[in-house]
Symmetry: C2
Subunit: 499 residues, 2 copies
């Protein structure tokens, strides 16, 4: 395997990009797609159709050497032919042609270029030489350069979806920068399924000009980003990155997944991004010292995104557990202890209060086992009692949301087996559980706002409605993970950040 | 909290139940539901409607003190009034009445009783006394007793679904015994969503007569069960259990989730099943010595169920990785190393073979990065090459199945943005990706049968089609986890079992 050039060597010529440049890339009024195409699956088609179908409200200029229009839009032969101002150009033409396109962009006064094309430093010395030329041109004209070899960017607040994957998460508080395009795209796709709101996604690609440190600096200033997720294989100038991350992390959580932690991963990363790696234990220790959370699995980035962006931070490690079944309470308590969280006894006053609602043999302790109660009031009372006491910092509530799915199954069975069952009553039950679910979520969000403590839900079933359930006009959102271990892990990480 | 009586004290009066007794419970020709009801959500309604709607093909006899029919079935006042033979009775009447019902069952010659009713040893000394009486009656008549305080049983091969949760997994190879009813029910529900086939589910409840050791002995002999999952809070007579588990585990994997591993979990378990716990490190060490896998999270039981029941066992720890994107390959390689699996270099002959299919800058190593190829042949070639070589024991393949979802999104965007796109061509693409997915799964199953090595898929998207994708008439099934960390963990556990 040919050793590909490290992108590190460009770092020394990096200036600090001003905010304005990336602002133009992420919140443009007008975009050009150079290499725009109608061939299904080509990059020029992927980017153009995604921008259009995603509902971008600014101007879109396809650039094509021959066609006069694409997708009903007037097309131009060159960027310099476009009669109006262009903020950002997406470039999908073959590597050899990219330099002249970028030169055109510079002449035209474009503020930033997103170079999707591959064939640069990731493929060897020749590509690295091309990459250097592009950086030179961008610096000459003062243009921001994203990539090359990026899968694109997503900016939901600008309704700008410009990646190969046509997934469109809602606008929210999670910024995501990924050196791997397809890992990034896939995570954004999961985020979209889970209802997690994204502020920006940037596939940083080869990071010829802008690296994670620069994106961090931008996101530090952008209030739309409330939590920042990074996937990195190449840390570049480690000290610069860590300094930026430490500073930003004081304002908003910075969470890092490092690829290339092991010898097998490093070998894979070397052939992927040309990253030379470095020793992971040192990186992890540096992160820990700087208070930056590091995770080992992509899904954990998503889990933490949901929690950090939707819940108040806990101010301690004492967990109250409310469960609809004993076994789940046991498993959750075990996992809390194993993750360093405490499950302390609860005051007698709470036990007395709950005695009014529950059969005499209820658990009378923490976890609060609601013993399969069908009462709709007591789960709320139990959560609120735990939030009220200053002996509990956070609540994990298991099984309320998921229960509605099982009720639906039961209604279905009843219809099929009992010919005399009242269809009206059964309809009422279904509509009751549906509205109860929404009401319960709204109540949990209200409680979080009142007590400024997190309530983490565990649905125990797979919901099509996603992990994050937002409530109109509220600061916090309901979060319902499928498993207790996920809920406990997220809470433990939030406690770690709070510390 | 009142200390509830430990069920351990009954263990010494336990005889070894013969196979016949549990056979009658799990594969009955005729069942009675005592306490049958039409009140929505009552246990007598839950069990009766589930048995009917689940499609049980044997006879069903509701027992009700007044009604002459329920759900269109003739009802009887007492079990002894039923004119035909009854194999098993489900008992849902209040605890105080259970003794007389069980006595009736004995007189009638019923082979086994499943006592759903609660209010026994789990609520204190009085309940424990009642429980002792029931055990005495069952022993007197030679009846098997499941429970009391069980959430019921499921026996998909008998089309018998008799739990409170109306979830109905397909018949398959995973047996599941759970001391917690609702944890068990929920896991069966997940299994059903994930396409995991269940051979039996038993909520063992208070285990007054039959405990995990006895169920293990039964499942050892039942060929329908190919892998056995246990959730235990109370290990009972630890030595008896471990001896049974060790013996059975040599024939089929026994996997244990122990509740009450920590002080918080133990406290919760004490109030849940009255379990006194014991020291988890000792239990875990004993399991390890006996070769029994123990896990810490409910979801892991499911993950392992899917893998162990669907894939050939790996005969070594050397993993080949095939990925559609570099980042995912890096993350997977890292996780393999962290879980003790090797990702060795691959022979030059494979690299030469793949050179014919891939662009010159492909990874040329393990992970095999297919660089986002759209070729449909090369992913299969890559997997087969890795299966062929004796330097690789198992393959993890990332991204093929999930990709189809992204293609559908792209087709949708194209329809919306390009007025001139050929609708026919787009329809063809969709039907192609749909059939390609099924074809790919069938090919993977064929390859597993030919090479007797596991191929673990990672879909990277959430599929409605579940984790396990079975192929008509095949010994193995396709398994597609959503994340690489799950795939790697399952593989690592399979290697651990193989050792």
């Amino acid at each position: 395997m040919e050793a590909s050039a490290s992108v590190d060597r460009y770092m020394d010529v990096q200036g600090h990009m001003g905010r304005a440049d990336l602002n133009a890339v992420l919140y443009p009024g007008a975009v050009a797609v150079v290499g725009a195409s109608l061939s299904f699956g080509k990059w020029g088609q992927l980017i153009l159709t995604n921008i259009i179908a995603g509902g971008f409200e600014g101007k879109i200029f396809p650039v094509h050497p021959k066609k006069s229009s694409l997708c009903g839009l007037k097309a131009y032969k060159k960027v310099t032919d476009i009669p109006q101002h262009v903020d950002v150009a997406f470039v999908t033409v073959p590597a050899a042609v990219v330099t002249s396109v970028v030169e055109d962009c510079g002449k035209k006064g474009v503020k930033g270029v997103v170079v999707i094309s591959s064939g640069f430093s990731e493929v060897g010395a020749e590509g690295a030489e091309l990459e250097r030329k592009i950086v030179g041109i961008c610096r000459h004209y003062g243009m921001a350069l994203v990539g090359p070899n990026t899968m694109g960017i997503i900016s939901p607040y600008a309704k700008l979806f410009a990646t190969g994957a046509h997934t469109r998460p809602r606008a929210g508080g999670v910024a995501f920068v990924s050196q791997s395009g397809n890992l990034g795209n896939q995570l954004v796709h999961w985020a979209s399924h889970q209802g997690i709101g994204i502020s920006q996604f940037v596939g940083s690609g080869n990071e010829a000009m802008l690296g994670c440190a620069e994106y961090l600096e931008f996101l530090e200033q952008d209030d739309r980003a409330r939590i920042i997720m990074l996937y990195m294989e190449n840390v570049g100038q480690g000290r610069t990155f860590l300094e930026a991350a430490r500073r930003v992390n004081r304002k908003k959580p910075v969470i890092v997944l490092k690829g290339g932690r092991t010898s097998a991963g490093k070998a894979a990363a070397a052939s992927h991004t040309g990253s030379m790696g470095g020793e992971y234990p040192i990186f992890r220790a540096a992160c820990r010292q700087a208070g930056i959370l590091s995770v080992d699995a992509p899904a954990e980035l998503l889990d933490l995104s949901a929690g950090f962006s939707s819940l108040p931070l806990p101010k301690g490690d004492r967990v109250g557990i409310v469960t609809l079944g004993g076994g789940w309470g046991v498993v959750t308590a075990d996992t809390c202890n194993e993750k360093g969280l405490r499950v302390p006894p609860i005051p007698d006053s709470i036990i007395k209060r709950l005695n009014k609602y529950l059969p005499p043999f209820w658990s009378k302790g923490n976890p609060v086992d609601l013993v399969g109660t069908r009462d709709t009031e007591v789960p709320v009372v139990a959560v609120e009692e735990l939030l009220k006491t200053d002996r509990i910092d956070a609540v994990i509530s298991l099984g309320i949301i998921g229960r509605t799915e099982l009720v639906r199954l039961l209604v279905d069975s009843t219809r099929r087996s009992d010919p005399d069952a009242s269809q009206e009553e059964l309809d009422e039950i279904v509509s009751f559980v549906d509205s109860y679910e929404e009401e319960y979520i709204a109540t949990m969000v209200d409680l979080m706002e009142r007590y400024e403590k997190p309530v983490i839900g565990v649905s125990l079933t797979r919901s099509d409605k996603g992990t994050v359930r937002s409530v109109e006009g509220k600061r916090y959102s309901g979060v319902f993970y499928q498993t207790p271990e996920t809920a406990v892990n997220v809470l433990a990480r939030m406690v770690q950040y709070w510390k």
